[in-house]
Amino acid sequence: NTNNFDYASYHTLEEIYSWMDSLEAEYPDLVTKIQIGSSFEGRPINVLKFSTGGSNRPAIWLDSGIHAREWITPATGIWSAKKIASDYGRDPSLTAILNTMDIFFEIVTNPDGYYFTHTSNRMWRKTRSINPGSSCVGVDPNRNWGAGFGGPGTSTNPCSETYLGSFEHSESEVKSIVDFILGHGNFKAMITIHSYSQMLMYPYGYTSTETPNQQELHTLAKSAVDALAALHGTKYTYGSMITTIYPASGTTADWGYLNGIKYSFTFELRDTGRYGFLLPAEQIIPTAQETWLALMKIMEHARDNPY
């Protein structure tokens, strides 16, 4: 039962997958679990679809947990997904979003890596795929997308944490999303959630060229981080990836934008400057609550500005 689930604690992959089944069972008219692929080690890659009907409606993509050790991101994802389900019909703005758009939420984007952080190495970041000719395992799934693939900010060394992989979309965790989104064909927003630098960024990461939508994305990012800060005072920086953090090629947000999804963003959730990836569980709810306000700003904007 998702009402009795402890949202203020970190959970194993098994618990999260079980929670997904519960959410689907409790909100059968709104939530459907879809398996869009399998991980390298054969785990299902699950997405929660929130839909009130209609076929191939414009859609919003959310994902968390692509870097395994960023536990706060799936924890925030779980809370947010429950919020979507429980607020539909109660919160007028969210209800209006779901009456015109579908939301797809991939809570654990890197299930093998997440499992590995619980069983073997809490600090693991990458996928768990084997690299031929190397004893080092895994690819950075946020360098593996077909968006400036192999450009600045990636490593060709399989032992590096930013190893890009042998070719674009080599990771089934990435390819599954690519195939799903391109197959769907009507995504209007794509938000990928990382931690822990307190940033909200839009494309590009692989080039310093500004996107044609720079002004709109910048204004939207500002309104999102303002909304976020209003709750607990958490200060985010915002801007294009390359100017705000560093050059990074082959990223999710750039791929989304280059494939026609204008409202493409990447979050870096809160950091107290003390814990990094080991954010205490007591901060899960405040993190999720403030993030939700920013997510809503972006989703509302996508709803109100069809293209």
Binding site: N1, S9, Y10, R122, M123, R274, Y275, P280
Partner: protein
């Protein structure tokens, strides 16, 4: 289960491009087994790096001898992991 006893996370603040370059060179020294949580990019952004216990002294000497400022962000990674694990066990035991 990999243990991180005595590993620290350092928050490094570079004050010049030269120092950024020195930090970038550290990334190539695989024997130190440094885990960059935030990579050296520009002076405005702090660098966070998890340092295995065995390499702590060497890295701190390197930073201090090059005048690069740092502070210990996490004193013992394993202690935090133990707390995290305890918290998860407590959560399991809690009555739903």
């Amino acid at each position: 289960q990999k243990l991180f006893v005595g590993d620290q996370v350092l928050r490094i603040t570079a004050s010049s491009e030269e120092q950024i370059t020195l930090l970038k060179e550290l990334q190539d020294l695989e024997h130190l087994k440094l885990d960059f949580w935030r990579e050296p990019v520009k002076t405005a952004l702090a660098v966070d790096v998890r340092v295995p216990f065995a390499g702590l002294q060497a890295l701190k000497v390197f930073l201090e001898s090059n005048g690069i400022q740092y502070r210990v962000m996490i004193d013992d990674v394993q202690m935090l992991l133990d707390e995290e694990k305890e918290e998860m066990f407590r959560s399991h035991d809690r009555e739903r």
